[in-house]
């Protein structure tokens, strides 16, 4: 009887080895060792148990282990990458539609900033040019000297 059970197990493990043909050898060996250990321990528990080891019970152990192909597929996977994986070097450009809004926003902000600069600049220039007489002697020399930089009024010829 036990020989028949051994054969059942051997066929299962052979199916695992066949399914794992493309795995690196050490991975395949690890997997087969793990599964064999599991089966041996589970069978030992059966022998200990009241019902003893029956063909059905051995088949149930293998059935719970599951489809060898599914197990091997799992073995192909890597672990979930640890936190903060390095970003890829080349990222495909995001779709145009998603970029358009930020671009318009940038343009609007640029225009607004330009307008503000123009206004402030004009006001500052106006202040320098037209409030000069009311100021006696500012600390900074530039406003005082400002009138001398004025171009001479064109003389009518």
């Amino acid at each position: 009887m036990t020989q028949a059970h051994d054969q059942l197990v051997a066929r299962y493990l052979e199916a695992v080895v066949r399914a794992a043909a493309e795995l690196p050898a050490h991975r395949r060996d690890d997997l087969v060792v793990d599964l064999r250990e599991h089966i041996e321990s589970a069978r030992a528990d059966l022998v200990e148990g009241a019902g003893g080891e029956t063909a059905d019970a051995v088949a149930a152990i293998l059935r719970r282990l599951g489809d060898p192909v599914a197990i091997v597929n799992e073995a192909r996977l890597g672990l979930t990458p640890p936190p903060a994986p390095t970003p890829p070097m080349f990222v495909t450009a995001p779709p145009r539609a998603r970029r358009r809004l930020p671009v318009w926003g940038t343009v609007l902000i640029s225009v607004a900033v330009a307008v503000v600069i123009l206004c402030v600049g004009t006001m500052a220039l106006g202040a320098v040019l037209f409030q000069q007489p009311s100021r006696e002697s500012p600390v900074s020399g530039t406003p005082v000297d400002a009138p001398s930089f004025r171009p001479p009024a064109p003389t009518p010829s």
Binding site: L31, H38, S41, L65
Partner: protein
Amino acid sequence: VAGVEERPALATALRRGTLEFCVLAMLADGERYGVELVRQLGAENALATSEGTLYPLLSRLRRAGFVATNWQESTSGPPRRYYALTVDGRAALTHFKTEWTTFRTAVDRIVGTESR
């Protein structure tokens, strides 16, 4: 239309990235006998995983240094392999708990599955 075939794929996608932390969590209170560990997880129908698929997972956790194994004599049959959480494994579990809570809360809020 995209019903029956999609469901196993969805379960697989949800399981990926979470099951390994379920394993780590099961070891948080102390080392466990591998067969027992695998049996308990395999019996969780919602996780939709066979006992056998957990061995590649345990193997990855071992290579990542998140779990360590040791052999202990058994009164019946061959020596048994026990799995224990390492310091790195415990840190990974702690990190996952934070991430998971944030993730779950956001999904619940968006999908409308908050518990009331």
